[in-house]
Symmetry: C2
Subunit: 363 residues, 2 copies
């Protein structure tokens, strides 16, 4: 029985992505690589809805978050870190690791960011130079209302940094309309590629900030990328096989059409949520002004049950792999990933199995 | 005509590595990944000849160099940076980017490091806390005599950091015998895997230093790896498909036997050098107490010719891709990579073609 990998990334890869991953190596300083990199970047721009530059890093998404921090700020500068869960906290932790003065604006796990609270915080902290926000909080299955947040943030002279690692490509993203200075995503999410490449947009304001920034950096230094990408290269050897798959994933999205992809992601997510309710279970959290996530669904586990035991049964008896709760949510939720190469038919067996596991557990 | 990729990494992948790269994704926080990671690390230890811990980073080799620097030192601390070429200079640049006080010990490109000069420099700089050295200088095709250097370095209370990115697995390496505290390599070199994973050894002394180090870090933080690798995981999503190929590459080396691999690398390199001479060409540089590299051969281009034009002809007419000269050696040398999955039969067509190109150019 083939594994049904339903974690929020790495996501299952379509056959064409596996095939692309198996292509023979090429010279990363030759014309074929240059053309591929150019094609990837040109392909991403309309999907991100941006005219900004795009940098490709050989790293996990977290490396992309770190790149954003170390290139834009100097020690002691103040940033507002909006958090609605584990990945929001991670973004703030990175800023603290690099000696930024972090003003936390934390909402309880299970809620989304309230723009009026953010507005108030920015009013009270006129020294803030940047705002960090998680687009889709993978740990809670909730998506911030980035359009609404962007309107508030636009009122202030701040850099706007968005972790959209598990959103863009599956959930609406408008980098330019929303005034996002740096937006980060990862190859293993909506892009139907293996992990290993982080994609980062850089606005003109972000470029300016990067030239003033005094944080130490080398591997993630935007200036190095600027120099080498102009030649169709990367400063350090890139994850060539992941590039192959990423190029393929972008082509798949382009062929299907971004609007169709977003509609499919919405439809599969709606179906997933409907199945949760059909089993008499509850979705975790309350989206408020935001949304239940279209890429990952978090299910509250009734108090009498243990989410980790349920995951173990699903894995061992049905070869279905779900995500567990992170940190304080361990055992209290399970998470179903549904981004990238996904249809309702991938989700149905999860609930068929879950229903049996629950019936057995409750018996 | 299939491309004959003869750059010093990425290296051509054997069929089994391509097949491994095309495996479906797995849960990077599940038992299958934990087992694979354990197998990779257990497999690497005898190949590195070490009992030290090994950390796997999702990054290029340069990310591994940066990890070594940011985890072991604090701003203002002094390091001795031995350089015999472009990659030695890069290691020093990383140290400078992180505000270390770098004492450069630079030998002309085309030479190897003289242990007595290093000894003298260490005597004159008693504050030095660490020594940085490139094992195999990919830019010049020369290999330092690490055994001889290690004897000198052992006389001092310093941390010994070795960039063995393009050596270990193909050129003799004895991490423990040579007292190396941090040794770095990359998946795309001798390991017959795509780029994307850096492997880093950490000695007990390096662990101690990492707990005292005050340089800011997050993505490359050894402490995060220590915590997560104990659980069979990585702190951030790893480059799963590269792990698959790396696991395969280690198995190939184990099956062939390390001694046989090293002997084959020696044989293929000897053959390459013999072919250089047969064509009436000169090897670049003079190994002195070191060696001509067994993983990359640099050929001096006669003054009347242009190495870049020769590379272009080889690429366009024969689909053979060589490395060019880096920095000041651009046009003056060409470089033939021969590490990992390589036999004499991969090298022969290079010289057949080179001979024709040279005859045509000189005509």
């Amino acid at each position: 029985m083939e594994q049904n990998l339903r974690i929020p990334g790495p996501t299952p890869l379509p056959p064409s992505a596996l095939q692309a991953s198996a292509r023979q190596m090429i010279d990363h300083r030759g014309p074929e690589f240059a053309q591929m990199q150019q094609e990837i970047i040109a392909g991403l721009k309309p999907l991100f809805r941006t005219e900004n530059d795009i940098i490709l890093l050989t790293a996990s998404g977290t490396g992309g978050l770190e790149a954003a921090i170390v290139n834009l700020f100097s020690p002691g500068e103040q940033v507002l870190a909006i958090s609605i869960g584990s990945f929001g906290e991670r973004f703030a932790k990175i800023a603290r690791a690099y000696q930024l003065d972090v003003v936390p604006v934390s909402f309880p796990w299970g809620e989304t960011a309230d723009p009026s609270v953010v507005d108030q915080a920015l009013k009270e902290h006129p020294q803030v130079k940047g705002v960090l926000v998680t687009h889709n909080e993978t740990s809670t299955g909730l998506t911030n209302n980035l359009a609404a947040l962007s309107k508030v943030i636009a009122k202030y002279e701040v850099l706007f940094l968005v972790d959209s690692i598990s959103a863009v490509g599956a959930i609406e993203m408008r980098v330019d309309d929303w005034g996002i200075d740096v937006m980060i995503t990862g190859s293993q999410k909506a892009w139907m590629a293996p992990p290993g490449v982080a994609m980062v947009t850089v606005s003109p304001q972000a470029w300016t900030a990067s030239r003033q920034s005094k944080l130490p950096r080398f591997y993630f230094d935007f200036a190095q990328y600027e120099e080498w990408m102009a030649k169709g290269q990367t400063p350090w050897t890139p994850a060539v096989s992941v590039y192959f798959a990423l190029q393929n994933g972008i082509k798949l999205i382009k062929d299907e059409g971004l609007e169709n992809v977003l509609a499919r992601q919405q439809r599969v997510a709606d179906y997933t949520r409907q199945e949760v309710r059909r089993l008499g279970l509850q979705l975790f959290g309350n989206p408020g002004i935001g949304f239940y996530s279209n890429t990952v669904t978090a299910i509250s586990i009734p108090e009498s049950l243990d989410g980790e035991a349920i995951r173990k049964s699903l894995r061992q008896q049905y070869n279905i792999v779900l995500g567990g709760g992170l940190g304080k949510l361990k055992g209290r939720i399970v998470r179903i990933g549904h981004m990238g190469w996904v249809q309702e038919s991938h989700i149905t067996p999860v609930f068929t199995a879950l229903q049996k596991v629950l019936a057995h557990t409750e018996a």
